[in-house]
Symmetry: C2
Subunit: 665 residues, 2 copies
């Protein structure tokens, strides 16, 4: 970047100013920056005039604001002139000052400097022995400064892999600004990345990897575009809500923070749910926030104790309007280098997702839908299956793995059988190969009548070489088992080299019509499927009083490629209904939320909203393997920061200040 701390202005006439020491590139940035207190009347391609004195620009009055504004557009670094990613042959002959990490050096003569913008090759002249010795003596990853002249390489020596591959800088001076003073645990290379724990322990080094830099830049950029949409286009108001809050009944385990008031603790918010609803009651019609949320999940894989939500709420909206808003938000902020997304997103009901995909967050990038085959098995000749399928509450379902014979080994099957038993208490799982003669081969298939075999093959539209995965048992267990096996078999096929899911495609999906309540398996109590503030589906309100478990909700999930990345709903705004749900259906002690139902009694606008998991969304966008890949300083699975050692010990004084003891184990 060229130094242009405060460009100099000269007034030429009322509306024309001469702008010195600013490059065309910077001015185009200025022009494209949006919010001026004055307007610059020129387009990128047609400056009013440009000569060696500078660029003449035409601005509207008042001129002092124009100069202030334009002058304020860009701060350069005076300590260097360019980044390591921008020099091309057009800079040949220029004197430059570069600063960067020493990526590499050879024989004290060739060096590669790296910064966040790219890499530049530096050459030390053979006669500059002193520089050469200094370079050779510098450990990799030290931070160094080169002053020198840009030199165009002969065309046949262009390095096409570097954006700066047309040039090299011939050094006149070389200075180590910050020498690496110990043996680094790893160097910054794009191959042979170290294990994750080592990378987390030395995260500041890991952050130098190009991939992580690109990811965090993109994370910042997408968030910015989301704000542009929400604030500039849709007039949302960003409201910061407290994170030090009060314990909310139900929901995830919340971290607690002891206060100076003995025995009294803050809870770190698991989401701004209550506050955003209070903002609606307070008359804000469009609220949003990139909210930090906290959940103590006690070491669940791929969760973080703190995470970020794009949290929003609107008064006077329908489910569909919130969905359209989110679609527009995503289209608006979608990185242009990615496969575009199509709107409106498809919608499925909860029941459909379960019966077709065996999960409420289906990966719809590939078909392999689950189908019910109960009728086929009811009179199939295989006694065990017939008996099983005829038991009340049981049914049979199946899906097809196209060309599945390439992965369907005995070992895989026994793993699946174990899984079926362990997680779903099911022993009615069978896999069969479809043979060329339209017959099935497999442990159970051979007991099936030939006609049943053919009906099954036809019903599932299977071909020779395909594998049919079939399970019998209690419906919901069968569906969920097959949903899981569908994903496992897709992975198996992909490992065997078949393309099942397109990793470049982003298939969003809305899932609606969730039940409002469910029965907690361990306690037998009725609990909310999502949270107690969700409104029943229109027309289902009466179920609250007669059979709550039958009520569907106005909740909707946003699913992307098999991951839930957001959940929203229209909320209860009627204090009587809210209290009824909490006290009579959920049996929640609503005392701690008394202030909230009181707020609902104060004239609450109808409202609804949604929260997107920003870490998860960015993980998908960046193709990461875990949300840790899109977080600058993540915790390990056990909730530890391997770099700083958090959590750690605190002093006796602090324990006293907060009136707590640590329990002896």
């Amino acid at each position: 970047m060229k130094s242009s701390v405060l460009p100099l202005f000269t007034k030429i006439s009322k509306h024309i100013f001469l702008l010195k020491s600013i490059r065309n590139g910077s001015l185009s940035r200025i022009f494209h920056a949006r919010q001026f207190s004055c307007r610059i009347i020129c387009s990128r391609s047609s400056w009013i005039h440009q000569n060696s004195a500078g660029i003449y620009i035409h601005v509207s009055l008042p001129w002092h604001r124009a100069t202030t504004t334009v002058a304020s557009q860009r701060i350069g670094f005076t300590l260097k002139t360019h980044s390591c990613g921008e020099l091309t042959s057009s800079h040949a002959g220029q004197s430059v000052v570069l600063r960067g990490f020493l990526q590499y050096q050879r024989m004290g003569r060739f060096a590669v400097l790296r910064d966040i913008m790219g890499k530049t090759q530096v050459l030390i002249r053979e006669e500059d022995k002193e520089l050469s010795v200094a370079l050779e003596d510098t450990p990799f990853e030290s931070y160094v400064e080169i002053r020198g002249v840009v030199h165009q390489r002969p065309e046949e020596q262009y390095n096409k892999d570097m954006t700066t591959g047309e040039i090299e800088v011939i050094a006149d001076s070389y200075k180590v600004l910050s020498r690496v003073q110990r043996s680094l645990p790893f160097l910054i290379r794009n191959y042979n990345k170290p294990k994750e724990n080592l990378r987390l322990q030395y995260r500041y080094l890991d952050l130098r990897h190009e991939e992580l830099q690109r990811t965090l830049k993109l994370r910042s950029r997408v968030a910015k575009k989301m704000r542009d949409y929400l604030q500039d286009v849709e007039d949302f108001v960003e409201i910061a809500t407290p994170t030090l809050s009060v314990n909310t009944p139900g929901g995830a385990q919340e971290f607690v923070v002891p206060s100076r008031h003995p025995g009294q603790f803050y809870s770190l918010v698991q989401s701004p749910q209550t506050y955003k609803q209070l903002a609606m009651i307070g008359g804000f019609e469009k609220y949003f926030q990139f909210a930090i949320c906290y959940r103590d999940e006690g070491g669940k894989p791929d969760r973080q104790p703190e995470f970020m939500q794009v949290d929003l709420e609107m008064a006077n909206v329908t489910m569909e309007e919130v969905q359209r808003l989110i679609e527009n938000l995503l289209v608006y902020s979608w990185p242009s280098h990615l496969h575009p997304i199509l709107t409106p997103f498809p919608v499925m009901t909860y029941d459909e997702t379960l019966s077709e995909y065996g999960t409420d967050k289906p990966d719809v990038r590939f078909e392999w839908k689950i189908k019910e085959v109960t009728d086929v098995l009811q009179d199939c000749g295989a006694n065990t299956l017939e008996t099983l399928v005829l038991q009340p509450g049981n049914s049979a379902h199946a899906f097809v793995i196209p060309e599945g014979q390439i992965v369907m080994k005995k070992k895989l099957l026994s793993t699946w059988e174990a899984l079926a038993m362990r997680e779903f208490n099911l022993n009615g799982l069978t896999t069969s190969l479809v043979k060329e003669d339209k017959k099935l081969r497999g442990n159970i298939a051979r007991h099936l009548k030939l006609t049943s075999q053919q009906t099954l093959i036809e019903k599932l539209n299977a071909s020779s070489g395909d594998i049919i995965v079939l399970a019998v048992g209690p419906t919901i267990n069968v569906q969920k088992l097959l949903g899981k096996l569908r994903l496992l078999s897709a992975s198996a096929m992909e490992e065997a080299g078949r393309r099942v899911r397109d990793p470049d495609v982003f298939n969003f999906l809305w899932v609606i019509n969730f039940p409002l309540f469910e029965v907690d398996e361990t306690t037998g109590k009725t609990i909310s499927v999502h949270h107690p503030f969700t409104l029943p589906k229109n027309g289902d309100e009466h179920f609250l009083h007669i059979d709550p478990l039958k009520a569907k909700s106005q909740h909707f999930d946003l699913v992307l490629n098999g991951s839930e990345i957001g959940g929203g709903s229209i909320r209860v705004h009627d204090p009587v209904m809210q209290r009824f749900i909490m006290e009579n259906i959920l049996g929640i002690d609503s005392k701690s939320l008394g202030f909230f139902t009181e707020a609902l009694e104060s004239g609450a606008p109808p409202h609804g909203g949604i929260a997107l998991g920003y870490d998860r969304l960015m993980e998908k966008i960046c193709g990461g393997k875990s949300i840790r890949d899109v977080i600058a300083f993540p915790k390990s699975m056990a909730g530890r920061c391997l770099m700083s050692g958090a959590p750690g010990n605190i002093t006796e004084d602090e324990l006293n200040l907060y009136h707590i003891h640590v329990k002896k184990s």
Copy 2:
């Protein structure tokens, strides 16, 4: 707002599209929204063509992206057609649906609806008895819906105080969407505001006040413009850093968060200082974040346990570059309705601020500078003063309150004397009135030689009717006392009706050249004036080894109208210096920061940055009396949320989960 969920497109030719059901206003918004994946080639004033069919716009290819982008610009609310602040006589005759709080009703015939955009008057026809009864039966602040027709008022009945004062809506239907079901503690009026504690307890009602809505909207808007500047113009990368961190030695008291690991606690970060420096070491050259920070200040007035900082850091910068950046940031994001700010901001050294204003955060909106008058008193005839001023380390300083005689009552003086004694252990305070004959009147003045009186008057450039406030004692105490009295007397003059400080003016100031270390008065230990990561001033490095207290720092404060709203510095990037400062000068146990000095050993770019207190800045911008006035859900001074009751009790299970007991008092 008109409903325009997805405007319809018709392709007219390759580059021309007909855009239906979108109003000119929305399209101009669309055009002004910046980031398109395609460009719309038309300017606000010259659409390609507009007729009753819609607006013809000209877009660049690819057209499907154009349509997606433009179509995605605006979500309307289908449940209402307009806000309560937008109807004018141009809407006369239109059918509208409004939703808002019932601000007021009279006789069941006249009602005022209020939402975040404004107010609209509604009229119920005399013959619509049913509506009338329903309206009369509705408590104020209930949330209601009106369907009706806009009716232009006769011009003589225009209500100039309302933006919608040209019209009223004649209701066809009236519906209470959410009835107020209890006696509200207060109504939403711009006069007679309730006491703060009541407002905090019912913050959701308080938020309905126009002033608080305007404040929070502005807070959101200014933050957005800051992001526009930092991200779009300056290429900063927003990086979220953890709030659950490890205890940092020194600094403010940090909240602790017990973990599931017995005896191990997270600390809530008091600032992202360590992390942002690690981001620099990780190769990010421009980092920023609107960071939530936590400090347990134990009930200091006008502090909050959690607050927001505009936190930024840059590699390879000088102090002056950071200052220019902040000036540009503020100019760029400064609300246009306020008095503009002038850049560059003036700079004063720490020593100058102390000697001229008696504080390191001077309010420079008014003069009343403090001057040293030691020489005048050394031979002034008043024995007590002479003795006092001649003691080693002592000196005499004074400032003038122009026309101060109108406030200088005996009672005020005795309050000041008490303050001088209590806070600064000083008894050498005197106030004297300048009389017309160039003589002084006052308890001590009368002992002064006449020539000394005149010298004093001339030196201070005082006039008849002015008050001279003079103090003698240890220099620093005298300066600080006078600094405090200068502000108290300004307030006293303002209460007496004189204009001393212009409340509309924003005087920013940089303060530089702070000492790097100071001696803690209670422990006698050397401590950092700001924090241990601050670099000494160029040329002062040797003082670290020979006399650390003599070293000045590369720290700079940003002061606005007498409040410190930001502090920045160039940081130590040399691990040897950093360790020396921590271990040899500060005697900090650097073990817990071992990972940080290790990071500095890994090739750390030179870097510096700043953090602005966003709450404090917004308080100044909005003219609030406390930062609570610019925070949606603030805590009380005792750190309590008067609305939710946080902090509160937690369960025995939670105490067990986190391995803690509460101490019995």
